[in-house]
């Protein structure tokens, strides 16, 4: 590497598999910002990258695991949390982050999400919520707002969407936050906080999909969607997750849950110690 190349190298490049760039995401997609915030959080925390594992599922954001230069697994559709559970329990010293999309985590993978939250499995789950299946060309999903147009709701969606933060809180997550990609600083802060807490942490990131969801629903260009986020988002920390439903008039962002609870692994270690004590006594 020449001095000039060294000088021009982005300070966060060491966290990325540079040979895999440019990434596959469309112009104006929010997933790049999520990647940016994630590696910034790693950098701020001076994380031991050799002890970090990023697990993702299928969908646009699913490709993120292949861009971060750490041990990473790009799983089958919907299964990143279940696979991450095995990684964590087989080597509890590893820090696990699952980064995936709304369809992957809450439609096909919904069952794994609620059960990992219930068990308080130690992992940080970041959901890029772009309100549709972008990778397959824009079908409706579990977060698509009522009346929205997608390729499979040509007359408007008649399904009520999930409120992801409410679902996460009800299922037992110990840290729950929501930001839009406009809130890059706050999102980075949340990721840092989550990576330092033990237990099941959930961060929803509202992410623009101007090329696919945006186009069909006449949301304008990426900057217009960012402007919309600026206009309608409101930070209410500690807001009751039940009252954070996303509408076209308001997106409540902030940290909604921040509690402590024994993790699955902590309880397991405790039980292990008790069993071993009992066995050696005998």
């Amino acid at each position: 590497m020449t001095v000039k190349q060294q000088f021009n190298r982005h300070p966060l490049a060491k966290y990325l598999r540079e040979e895999r760039l440019p990434h596959i995401w469309c112009e104006g997609c929010g997933d790049g910002i999520i990647l940016n915030c994630f590696v910034n959080a790693l950098n701020d925390l001076n994380m031991d990258i050799d002890k970090l594992v990023v697990v993702s599922g299928i969908g646009c954001i699913g490709r993120i695991a292949g861009y971060i230069k750490c041990d990473s697994f790009h799983t089958t559709h919907g299964r990143p949390i279940a696979l991450a559970t095995g990684i964590k329990l087989a080597n509890p010293k590893l820090t696990i982050s699952v980064i995936s999309g709304d369809g992957d985590l809450f439609a096909i993978g919904g069952n794994h999400f609620i059960h990992a939250a219930r068990r308080n499995m130690d992992m940080t789950v970041i959901c890029s919520n772009n309100f549709n299946y972008g990778m397959t060309g824009g079908q409706f999903g579990p977060t698509t707002p009522l009346n929205s147009y997608t390729t499979t709701t040509p007359y408007g969606s008649i399904e009520h969407p999930f409120n992801l933060v409410h679902l996460a809180a009800a299922a037992g997550a110990i840290y729950v936050a929501r930001w839009t990609v406009l809130h890059a600083k706050e999102l980075t802060m949340s990721i840092k906080k989550a990576l330092q807490k033990s237990g099941f942490k959930f961060i929803e990131v509202i992410s623009p999909c101007p090329e696919i969801f945006g186009r069909r629903n006449k949301l304008g260009r990426a900057v217009d969607i960012m402007e919309l986020y600026r206009k309608i988002s409101e930070t209410i920390h500690g807001c009751d997750p039940a009252k954070t439903e996303i509408t076209d008039k308001r997106i409540i962002v902030g940290e909604f849950v921040d509690i402590e609870k024994p993790t699955y692994d902590e309880l397991l270690q405790k039980q292990f110690a008790e069993v071993q004590k009992e066995l050696t006594r005998g």
């Binding site: 598999r17 697990v55 697994f73 089958t76 299964r79 095995g86 990684i87 069952n111 794994h112 059960h115």
Partner: protein, 388 residues
Amino acid sequence: MRRKKKERRVLTGTHFMNGDVACAEGAIAAGCRFFAGYPITPATEITERMARRLIEVGGTYIQMEDELASMAAIIGASWAGAKSMTATSGPGFSLMQENIGLAVMTETPCIVVDIMRGAPSTGQPTEGAQQDVMQSKWGSHGDYEIIALAPASVQDMFELTIECFNLSETYRSPTFLLADGFTGHLWERVVIPPPEEIKIVERKKPSVPPNEYQPFKPDDDLVPPMASFGEGYRVHVTGLTHDERGYPTTIDPKTQFELVKRLCDKIRKNADKITRTYEFMLEDAEVAIIAYGIPSRASVKAVKDARDSGIKAGLLRLITVWPFPEKQVEELTNHVKAIVVPEMNYGQIVKEVERAAKETPVHFLPKLGGEPHKPSEILKIMRRASKS
């Protein structure tokens, strides 16, 4: 009397156990330290035993929300460095097929025990069968080869589980213990040897530093050395078609061809080392039974009875079902004039036998309904076969 720590890993001694429990003990003896499962008849005793026993040896048991999750979890655990296993029956095996494909594609050593029951669908939960044999070969989408062993006794449940782990670690392939529900629920004497007499194989580790390591670059045996997560190798693993670095290259025909070919060839080209059969009175046999699992036991009696009545009978028991022991069947056709295949299904392995036997007539004896073959039934068809 409680056991001392060392003894808890391998329960050396003579026991009266059921097949499922012996399987769990085999797994622990083989070094299995992670088990994810979901209750299902007739495999539940394996999960129950693992729940009680793994914690004693410092391993982890978790009951997952379904079989999709169980299969995913054992893949994750394997990449974190643990020998891992799950156990199920037909309905759960169906759910696992998705991530069995992922384990094949990502070359993840892991064990799936399928205690087969009557099917399709919910079928006969408490009755043994051999109806998942073709599913175990072809259940997940795409071209791939698989390793599957078929136990026929409680002793086998212990020993072949260990062999499953050894093969899985050697070839970096998901490996199946394909037992019928009768063998799973059978109670028999089991002799567990001392630990030093049990052969244990560990996966190959990289011999180069992280900057030189290509996680999917094979050695001469077509199997790549495997780094675990957390060892500093910073491996990327994907179910997408990938190059030797592990990076997705989904539209390159050459990468897809080479990867799929290697995934198949690492089993096909090593088939001679993998496949095992047991021969009983075959030397001068004119009529041979080919059987696996519990029907092979009725077959032993049928062979003896046939010999008593003047028929030169013998048995080829398939210990390895996949890869199918083609050579052994082909060799058999050199000196037998007929083959009899008793199976607890409506025709699965018999098709493979027919393919390998070519001109030699194959007589099929299906068994459905949840009871094993009687020796007399097999003898009857052998009589017919000897006259043909």
